[in-house]
Amino acid sequence: MSGRSTALAVEGLTKSFGGLLVTASVDLAVEEGERRLIIGPNGAGKTTLFNLVTGELRPDGGTVTLFGRDITRVPGRQRAHLGISRTYQIITLFPRETLLRNVTLSLLGRSPLRWSPLARLERQTALLGRAREALARVGLEHLAERPLSQTSYGERRRVEIAMALAQDPRILLLDEPFAGLSIEERRDVLHLVARIPRDVTIVMIEHDMDVALDFAERITVLHFGHVVVEGTRSEVVAHPRTREIYLGE
């Protein structure tokens, strides 16, 4: 593992909402190409950690470093251009638009074309082709023209992932990608995530430990904003604190 460089490093990251300490001096180092799982009970500060990494929230203290570059003060919108993509736990897509348009918006986010008031979006065949490819990657190209509001929850989860992958991220943050899915749908999404090439580093939040266990190389357990346990899959599973906090034993 030591041969790989660090993709994402978080040092002393702290955030509180009023008197509630949500992220308590969190240290985290994810190596390039790693598959990291972050688990913890509700309210452990998992999503807040993601929001701090993507710049949607400003930390009270600490630093976020992406591929050796300190991005703590970089606005969120620029972090997308530096290679961070994320999915959301609560799906935040564009319900009035088609699946194709949803993914196209994601692609446009990283293209200078997004500023053009004169070009015709319908005629951007290269861009639309890439959007269809991204939909094909998650097995939804046959629904490209369908409005998002007419798709199932499981399909929307996959659109989320298609949008994140379309941005060609170097690091992908998945926030509970299995939440609310049936067993078959979970398996589909897990296959999908497993197929993502190794040049993409993946950090996944999951509430339900059993689903994502096979996916993870290293696991971080968060509890009340603190990193409680960190290690390989077997280390974490065997750790008494994990059982105590997470499994409620």
Binding site: T54, E56, G76, R77, Q78, A80, H81, R86, Y88, T92, L93, F94, P95, R96, R101, T104, L105, S106, L108, G109, R110, S111, L113, R114, W115, S116, P117, L118, A119, R120, L121, E122, Q124, M163, Q167
Partner: protein
């Protein structure tokens, strides 16, 4: 089919001075078109950016007052128009900077645009040395672009039609462009758009400028049409009326603001001749629109039309064609 309808509509509009009886109706046509330009401008913000402005009459007024002062100061029409639009753009930039502070949307945006509109009204009403106060400013004559005098109602109507078509055309291009898609994205999911790499503030700022520019153009048409501008033009009621045009016709649609402008102008001018309490009638119409077609006249009528067609088709035929009924 669509093109045919478009060509027919264009022909009817262009020929209006020939079939409308008398200058009264030609002038109504000019008013509809000039307010449609204003409503189209406001629609960029209200419909596509999801930002409700109650201060756009202020921008219209800044253009009208600036041009009026310059014309009376002995400057030519070209200079007056260019400087008026430049000043309107500068004002729009300032307004946008103030209104887009903080979260940049929702009730804060409405309140700040309202306050700014009231400040412009206050200046128009009270800063008498510049605006001549309640008496307003009259200008000498309409311009003669390319040697064509716009003095007659018909000529002015055609000139207004050309400007209106330019506004409508530019709007159609904007809506179909990547920037238009980005703008609608910031309306529906601003947070998501930022995470996807979009500069949400800048997108809204540019939309405000464009909206301000067309409001300025409408202001110039307003000045040349009336050959007069007074504080009434920049009052809150004027901003509210323009907003109602957009919402009643259908915000976020191309033709909605145009239909809304026609509705308000016709009610104000034509219906007021027959119905004494036309304000009441207009209010009743707005209530009816909100109750039966909350999305506005254009999308609402389209919806009812589709439903009527579907009901006219026998169910067996729909099933046989393999299409899903009703979206």
């Amino acid at each position: 089919m669509r093109r045919l309808a478009l060509a027919a509509a264009l022909l009817i509009l262009a020929a209006l001075p020939l079939w409308a009886s008398g200058t009264f109706y030609i002038n109504i046509g000019s008013q509809i078109l000039l307010y449609a330009v204003l409503a189209l401008g406001i629609n960029i913000l209200v419909g596509y950016a999801g930002l409700v402005s109650l201060g756009h009459a202020g921008l219209l007024g800044i253009a009208a007052y600036t041009a009026a002062r310059l014309l009376n100061g002995g400057h030519g029409h070209l200079v007056a128009v260019a400087l008026a639009l430049a000043l309107t753009l500068a004002a729009a930039a300032l307004f946008a900077t103030l209104a887009l502070r903080g979260s940049g949307s929702g009730i804060g945006f409405v309140m700040i645009t309202l306050a700014i509109g009231q400040i412009v009204w206050g200046v128009a009403y009270r800063w008498i040395s510049i605006t001549n106060g309640d008496n307003g400013i009259s200008i000498g004559a309409r311009p003669s672009p390319l040697g064509l005098s716009l003095a007659s109602p018909a000529h002015f109507y055609w000139a207004t039609l050309v400007v209106f078509l330019a506004a409508l055309g530019s709007m159609a291009i904007l809506v179909a462009s990547p920037f238009g898609a980005s703008l609608r994205g910031t309306r529906d999911q601003p947070r998501r758009m930022a995470a996807l790499g979009y500069h949400v503030w800048m997108i809204r700022f540019l939309a405000f400028l464009l909206s301000g520019l067309w409001s300025g153009v409408a202001g110039l048409l307003f000045l040349y049409y009336n050959q007069f501008v007074s504080p009434q033009a920049v009052a809150l009621t004027a901003s509210a009326e323009a907003l109602l045009m957009v919402i009643s016709g259908g915000s976020g649609t191309l033709l909605g603001p145009v239909v809304g402008a026609a509705l308000v102008v016709v009610m104000k001018n034509v219906a007021s001749a027959y119905i004494e309490r036309w304000n009441f009638a207009l209010g009743a119409i707005f209530v009816a629109i909100v109750v039966f077609m909350p999305e506005g006249l254009v999308p609402g009528a389209t919806r009812l039309w589709r439903r009527a067609i579907l009901q006219g088709t026998p169910r067996a035929a729909v099933a046989a064609s393999g299409e899903r009924p009703a979206r």
